[in-house]
C-alpha cells in the first residue's frame, strides 16, 4: 500500500500470477530444499563390488509417488551395501532441478537416479552428467531423447489406462452404460495424458459402452468436485467415471458423497491416503497404481549394474496393479500404497 506505487503493483501482480501458474503447473512446489540421508551403515557387505558405491536420487518432495520411489531405492541400496541420498529441488521444474543435477555431478557419485521434471529441458544437464562419467537412470519420468541414459525404469501408463477401461467394461458387463472421464488439463502431465488416451483407445472395444468424453481439471480437488457435480447433473444415469490422477479421484469421490450417489463405479489412479480411505469405504471401486517402491529398487539395480559393468536393461516397464477393497489390506498390496510409511 504505502510502498508500492500503482504501476509497480500491477507489474507485481502480473509477476506473481506467472509465478503461481508455474507453481501450479509443476504440480505444486516445496518451499525449501530438503534432503534425506540414506543408509549410514554401508559397510557390511564389503566383499561385493557394489559395496561402498554412492548414489543420488533426485525427485520431488511434495509428491508421495516420488517419496515412494526414494523409499524403495534407499531400501535396495542398503540391502546391497551401497549408499543412496535423496535430494529434492525447491520446485519440480527444470529450472530448479538443473542446478541440483550440476551440484550432484560435482560430487562425483557412482550413479544418478532421477525423475526428470521436464522431458526435454532436462536433456542437456543429463548429457553433462554422462560426459562427466556419472551413469544416469531415469525413474518414473524420462526424457524424450533417451540417449544420455544408461537405463529407464518406467511405469507402463498405457497399460494402466487400458486397465481402467477394462475394469469399467467388466463391471458394466453386457448391458454397458454411460462412462465419463476426468483428467488433468492436456499437455501438462505426461502420465495423465497417456492414461487418458489409452483409456479412450481401449473403451472403443466395448460397443455397449457410451463414452461421454473427458472433462479437464487442475491440481485442486475443488475443481474435480465441480466437474463431477456437473457431469452428474448433466447425465444422472452415468454408470462409471475414471479419474486419471489421485487428486481428481478424491474430488470426484467428494461429489459422490455430497449427493449420496449410489451405483457410480469410480476408478482412480494413485494410491494416495484419501483414495485408500475412499476405497475402503466403497466410494471408490478401484485404484490403479504401480509398485513404486519396486520401481525405485529396480532403478538402483540398473544403476548398480551400470557402475559395476554388469549387463543393463535399457528399459524396464512396470505393469499396473489394481487395488480393490478386497486386496488393499493384504500385506503384499499394502506395502506398495503411496501412503504406507517407509520402514527405517
Amino acid at each position: 500500500m504505502r510502498d508500492l506505487p500503482s504501476r509497480s503493483r500491477a507489474v507485481a501482480l502480473a509477476a506473481v500470477t506467472a509465478a503461481l501458474c508455474a507453481v501450479a503447473a509443476g504440480c505444486g512446489s516445496s518451499s525449501k530444499p530438503s534432503s534425506t540421508s540414506g543408509a549410514a551403515n554401508a559397510s557390511s557387505n564389503s566383499g561385493k563390488p557394489e559395496a561402498g558405491k554412492t548414489f543420488v536420487y533426485l525427485g520431488a518432495s511434495n509428491d508421495p509417488a516420488y517419496l515412494s520411489i526414494a523409499c524403495g531405492a534407499k531400501l535396495e541400496a542398503t540391502r546391497l551395501g551401497a549408499q543412496l541420498t535423496a535430494q529434492y529441488p525447491t520446485a519440480f521444474t527444470a529450472a530448479a532441478q538443473t542446478p541440483l543435477v550440476n551440484s550432484v555431478i560435482a560430487g562425483k557419485p557412482s550413479g544418478l537416479i532421477i525423475s526428470p521434471a521436464d522431458a526435454n529441458a532436462m536433456y542437456a544437464p543429463l548429457v553433462q552428467a554422462k560426459t562427466q562419467g556419472v551413469p544416469v537412470v531415469t525413474a518414473l519420468n524420462t526424457l524424450t531423447k533417451p540417449d544420455p541414459l544408461a537405463s529407464q525404469v518406467l511405469a507402463d501408463e498405457t497399460a494402466g489406462g487400458a486397465e481402467s477401461a477394462d475394469l469399467v467394461a467388466k463391471h458394466l458387463g453386457a448391458r454397458g452404460g454411460k462412462v465419463a472421464m476426468i483428467t488433468f488439463t492436456p499437455g501438462q502431465s505426461v502420465p495423465a495424458d497417456t492414461r487418458w488416451h489409452s483409456f479412450e483407445q481401449e473403451i472403443k472395444k466395448y460397443p455397449k459402452i457410451q463414452y461421454l468424453g473427458a472433462q479437464f481439471t487442475d491440481i485442486t480437488p475443488q475443481t474435480a468436485t465441480q466437474k463431477m457435480d456437473a457431469i452428474l447433473a448433466r447425465t444422472p444415469d452415468v454408470k462409471a467415471v475414471v479419474a486419471t490422477f489421485g487428486i481428481a479421484g478424491g474430488g470426484a469421490a467428494t461429489a459422490l458423497r455430497q449427493r449420496h450417489a449410489q451405483g457410480v463405479y469410480l476408478v482412480t489412479f494413485d494410491t494416495r491416503a484419501e483414495g485408500v480411505a475412499d476405497l475402503k469405504s466403497g466410494t471408490i471401486a478401484a485404484l490403479i497404481d504401480y509398485k513404486l517402491r519396486l520401481l525405485g529398487a529396480q532403478a538402483v539395480d540398473q544403476a548398480v549394474a551400470a557402475t559395476t559393468g554388469k549387463p543393463v536393461r535399457k528399459i524396464v516397464e512396470l505393469p499396473p496393479t489394481t487395488f480393490t477393497k478386497a486386496n488393499v489390506s493384504a500385506p503384499a498390496y499394502k506395502q506398495y500404497l503411496q501412503e504406507t510409511p517407509c520402514p527405517k
Binding site: 500500500m1 504505502r2 510502498d3 508500492l4 500503482s6 503493483r9 501482480l13 506473481v16 509465478a19 503461481l20 501458474c21 507453481v23 501450479a24 504440480c27 505444486g28 512446489s29 516445496s30 518451499s31 525449501k32 530438503s34 518432495s61 511434495n62 509428491d63 508421495p64 517419496l67 488439463t185 468424453g213 473427458a214 472433462q215 479437464f216 487442475d218 491440481i219 485442486t220 480437488p221 475443488q222 468436485t225 465441480q226 466437474k227 457435480d229 456437473a230 452428474l232 447433473a233 448433466r234 487428486i247 478424491g250 474430488g251 467428494t254 458423497r257 455430497q258 449427493r259 449420496h260 494416495r272 491416503a273 484419501e274 485408500v276 480411505a277 475412499d278 503411496q338 501412503e339 510409511p341
Partner: protein, 347 residues
C-alpha cells in the same frame, strides 16, 4: 460508483483528506444501489438465464443449485478476508499455503487428541484457526509494523507455510479425518442446504456488516484509499493492517478446516491456485486492486460467476477445450462491462 466513493479512490482529493469517515458514512446507502455489485449481479443472472434456457431440466434444478453452492462455499470463505485485504490496499499471496498448513494442523491435532467425538472436532477447528491466525499475524506484523511490501512478505510466507506443512507431513497427505466430521460438516446438510454453505453465508453476513457498518470497515476503506491521510486523521494504520491480516489468517484457518471436512484429507499440494482464484473473484466483484474501493457482496458474486460458468458449460456439453476460453471471455466481458458503467457514471 458514486462520486463520493470515487473520491475516496483518488488519493489527493481534499474531501477525503478532511473527513474520510463522514464521506464514507453518507455514501453507504448510495453505494448499495450504485455499486458494481449490481452490474456483476446482473451478469450472474444473465448467465443463469442463458444456461436455464439451454438446459432447463438439468441446470435449473434445486439439486444442481445446491451442489454449485456447496462447491463454491469454501472459496467464498477465502474471498471475504481477501476482500478486506485488497480494499485495504494490500495483497495476500500466502492464502493457499496458510490453508495447507491449517489443514495439516487440523488433522494432526485431531489425531493427537484421538477419538472422533465433537470435542475432538472442535479442538481441531480451534487449532486450525489459531494456526491460520498466527501466519496472518506474522504477515500483518511484517507489513504493518516493519513496513515491508505485502507482495514480498506474503510471497515469503507462501513458501514458508507450505514448507512447514510439508515438514510436518513429510510430503504425504494425511487422511485420518473423523468420519463424523466428514458426514456432519463436509457433506452434511441443514434444511437441504450444505452445512458449508450455511457457514459461508454466516461469514459473508459478518463481512458485509463489518465493512458497511463499523469503524473497522471505515478504517479499511480509508487506509486503502490513502494510508498517509488516514494516519494523519488519527487512524493507527499499522495496527489496522495487523488486525486485517490476523483476521484473514483466522478465516483461512476456518477454510482449511472446512476443506479437511469436505475432502476427508489434507491436500498440501492442491492450494497453489487458491490465492489467484480468490483475488480474481474479488476483483471481478468490483473491488479495486489498488485499494479503497470494493464490497464483500460483490466478491460473493465474483466467486459464483466462474463456478456457474464452469458448471453450466459442462452441463451444456460444451467441448472442454472451449470451456476455458469461454470462462476467460466471460471474465473479461464482465470486467469490461463494469468499466463502461463506471465511465458513463463519471460523466
Amino acid at each position: 460508483m458514486t462520486s463520493d466513493t470515487e473520491a475516496i479512490n483518488r488519493p489527493r482529493d481534499d474531501a477525503t483528506m478532511e473527513a474520510p469517515e463522514n464521506t464514507i458514512r453518507s455514501s453507504r446507502y448510495r453505494r448499495i444501489w450504485a455499486s458494481p455489485v449490481v452490474g456483476v449481479g446482473f451478469g450472474l443472472l444473465a448467465l443463469i438465464a442463458v444456461f436455464t434456457i439451454i438446459s432447463p431440466s438439468k441446470f435449473a434444478t434445486v439439486d444442481n443449485a445446491r451442489n454449485v453452492l456447496a462447491d463454491a462455499s469454501v472459496l467464498v470463505v477465502i474471498a471475504m478476508p481477501t476482500t478486506f485485504i485488497l480494499i485495504c490496499g494490500e495483497l495476500d499471496l500466502s492464502v493457499g499455503s496458510i490453508i495447507a498448513f491449517g489443514e495439516v494442523i487440523a488433522v494432526k491435532s485431531m489425531i493427537a487428541v484421538g477419538g472422533g467425538g465433537i470435542g475432538t472436532c472442535i479442538f481441531g477447528l480451534l487449532c486450525a484457526v489459531v494456526a491460520g491466525g498466527a501466519w496472518g499475524a506474522l504477515n500483518g506484523f511484517l507489513v504493518g509494523r516493519v513496513g515491508l511490501p505485502s507482495f514480498i512478505v506474503t510471497l515469503a510466507t507462501l513458501g514458508a507455510a507450505l514448507g512447514a506443512a510439508q515438514l510436518l507431513t513429510n510430503g504425504n497427505d494425511i487422511a485420518q479425518v473423523p468420519t463424523g466430521l466428514v458426514a456432519d460438516v463436509g457433506v452434511g446438510t441443514i434444511a437441504g442446504i450444505s452445512v458449508l454453505t450455511w457457514i459461508a453465508a454466516a461469514i459473508v453476513i459478518v463481512a458485509i456488516w463489518t465493512l458497511g457498518n463499523t469503524r473497522f470497515g471505515r478504517y479499511t476503506y480509508a487506509t486503502g484509499s490513502d494510508a498517509v491521510a488516514s494516519e494523519r486523521a488519527g487512524i493507527n494504520v499499522s495496527r489496522h493492517v495487523i488486525k486485517i491480516y490476523t483476521l484473514g489468517g483466522l478465516a483461512y484457518g476456518l477454510a482449511a478446516y472446512l476443506n479437511v471436512a469436505r475432502f476427508s484429507t489434507t491436500t498440501v499440494g492442491g492450494h497453489a491456485p487458491d490465492a489467484l482464484n480468490a483475488i480474481a473473484a474479488v476483483a471481478l466483484g468490483g473491488t479495486s486492486l489498488f485499494g479503497g474501493v470494493g464490497s464483500a457482496a460483490g466478491s460473493v458474486l465474483g466467486v459464483f460467476i466462474p463456478s456457474v460458468l464452469s458448471n453450466g458449460l459442462v452441463i451444456a456439453s460444451v467441448q472442454p477445450y472451449w470451456q476455458e476460453i469461454a470462462i476467460a471471455v466471460a471474465l473479461l466481458g464482465a470486467i469490461y462491462a463494469d468499466q463502461l458503467r463506471r465511465r458513463t457514471r463519471r460523466r
